[in-house]
Symmetry: C2
Subunit: 385 residues, 2 copies
């Protein structure tokens, strides 16, 4: 396995490690949107490339719902690299020969950053659903503390797709002066009822699993079936009608998934496999908290996005994908319209793809050209790096 | 309630009752697609209007997944009429002053026709998942026995939407000589992997509910939460992004659905309500069997639909709805193409609507005009009624 990894990484970042940053805001806790305070907070993060002397080449990459800090390179012994490895590395779109790339796991997550599976110092047990309700703005506040810690004032760019794109929007709203440019990919300024509805099915599946046990399952059986169902729904929405037809057609299943009757189809086996493997790498309570944060988020804060973007000096690039029906292109076009109305320098590209929402992870070639060119423009026309 | 019902029914069909037809094929059982035999079989059905002397004015209406034999008129004490009441009645599209309309509950159902909740004579207990695997062609065989029983040789028309539309296709394939015309609405000749995937999420939610108990729950607690989740998924797919946005927007919820944290949105309350009320009227095992039959169905029987339709003399009218993403218009267009290739007399209309798949139940006005005109043509150009 490691040999294979090493072979593949020859022209990539090679081995990387996840680091930890702990902070305790005086008087020891971070004030959250919900009014509660939380601390100390641990942030899991990775960095790739070198920060230049002027500290002007830092790009913050923000992960999607089930992503983590491990965006690129290889962890020792792993059989695959970070989730956006094809985009981040020497000579790639986020060129680590030029840029210093940072990625951290979100607040509320389960990949090293404080979340509902972390131990609550008050009880000595995992928080479970006593974890406070965290929001996309809270996640961004935590990221800002990490950027402070790394000694960076202004980011050359913030970039992310899906939930990561929501965080990009929130960086623009919360810290406009700290963002020189923004890559807003396959996202929405606020969720539609259809997007909320799919997430609610997932939440309900988890909470209906008796093993969920009102969020305290860390000592016992995990809510495996509920979380698996949630992930099955997710996977349908990440693909497209066309990409599913191409990948599975109506080939019959039967490999690896026992059924009480009927033979079933390959697509069913695939969903079960995806559901059950997800359970090994994700915490059910994080699923609840993070989807709630995504659903609740409104970049316009109840008003218009154009008003929220008023006076913004960052250069913005919005990318969507034609077959993405979970985050349809019209939601990206809405963001573009708001930018224009607010006088923000914005570009937009609607990429032809049959991959559905997954396209932001899979359409490497076209995105690479677009992002490379955008970042060049930003550095050349801006203060330079 | 009854007063209200009576007031509304003044110009409709008034009170109707569901009838029963029992049959026992010699030697007592119906051979099924799966190779097993089943019998005796009870069929719940309703009829509206009068069969003419020539028995040439009969229209068989076929219900969708969660429908039943009660297509029109009012049951004593009910607060709402049958599921297609706006389309069936005196002066309506399926004009009961002209036509004799029949609707029956499908085999495998839970509304009076033999299904997994029926008592197995061999054990004296409900079949549960010992019920044989039934198919769309099996359902149509049972309907044909009912039509025989009513003394009707050839049907003026067979009509149905969604799963009902699959049955219409199967009538054309299994009994081409018994069908003068066909109304194929919002359906597919075979399910795509995306359609199968959504159904599999529902099945998995039901079977993951500990109360499902391998299909034997009739004496105890029903798998309420699992079936409710299945229905929640269904409802998302029946609506459209646009119709959900219009109906719910991002209005916050909180009425009637308790949450462990967060306030949630009105769309979530709606889905929970729809899920929990569905449980009162539908059997979880029927959900499993019927969705399996829908997913397995292929009108072309593994070959092309055009080949299956070769020589067909029925006049066919295909209707789809532009915002229906569960049964997208291209699937209807595929049926039309197959008809043309087979030399079948086919018309097609893609109705503008924002209602999504639900449009076949909600777009009454436009469908009425289309269907009225189609049935007039069939009777005028055909043998007359």
């Amino acid at each position: 396995m490691l040999q294979e990894a090493n072979a593949v990484t020859k022209d990539g970042l090679g081995l990387v490690v996840t680091k930890e940053f702990k902070f305790a805001e005086p008087p020891g806790e971070l004030p959250l949107d919900c009014g509660e305070k939380l601390g100390p907070i641990t942030v899991a993060y990775e960095t790739y490339g070198e920060l230049n002397r002027e500290k002007s080449n830092a790009i913050l990459v923000l992960h999607a719902f089930s992503g983590d800090a491990h965006a690129a390179g290889w962890h020792e012994g792993d059989s695959k690299p970070g989730w956006w490895d094809e985009m981040i590395g020497p000579g790639k779109a986020f060129d680590t020969d030029r840029y210093f790339v940072i990625c951290s796991n979100v607040l509320g997550g389960c990949k090293g950053t404080t979340g509902p599976s972390s131990v609550d110092r008050a009880t000595g047990k995992p928080y479970g659903i006593d974890f406070p309700l965290v929001t996309i703005p809270d996640m961004v506040q935590v990221q800002a503390r990490l950027v402070d810690h790394l000694g960076i004032g202004r980011l050359l760019s913030v970039a992310g797709g899906s939930m990561g794109g929501q965080q990009v929007l929130e960086w623009l709203v919360s810290f406009p002066e700290r963002v020189q440019s923004a890559l807003v990919i396959a996202t929405a300024a606020k969720h539609s009822p259809q997007q909320i509805a799919f997430n609610e099915v997932g939440r309900e599946a988890i909470m209906s699993d008796p093993n969920w046990n009102n969020g305290q399952y860390y000592d016992g059986e995990q809510p495996v079936r509920g979380l698996s169902i949630a992930r099955m729904v997710g996977h349908i929405t990440y693909m497209s009608d066309a990409s599913m037809a191409e990948k599975f057609g109506r080939r019959t299943g039967g490999n690896g998934h026992a059924r009480p009757f009927g033979r079933g189809f390959e697509v069913e086996d695939y969903l079960h496999h995806k559901g059950l493997t997800f359970v090994d790498r994700f915490d059910a309570n994080s699923y609840l908290y993070i989807t709630r944060a995504i659903d609740d988020y409104d970049a316009g804060k109840g008003g218009t996005l154009a008003a929220a973007f008023k006076g913004l000096e960052a250069r913005v690039f919005v990318i969507s994908f034609k077959s993405d029906w979970l985050y349809p292109s019209y939601q990206s076009a809405d963001i573009v319209r708001a930018c224009k109305k607010a006088g923000v320098d914005v570009s937009y590209y609607d990429v032809s793809s049959t991959y559905g929402h997954d396209a932001f992870l899979l359409e490497v070639e076209e995105q690479s050209v677009l992002i490379t060119s955008f970042l060049r423009k930003v550095t050349e026309e801006g203060e330079g790096i």
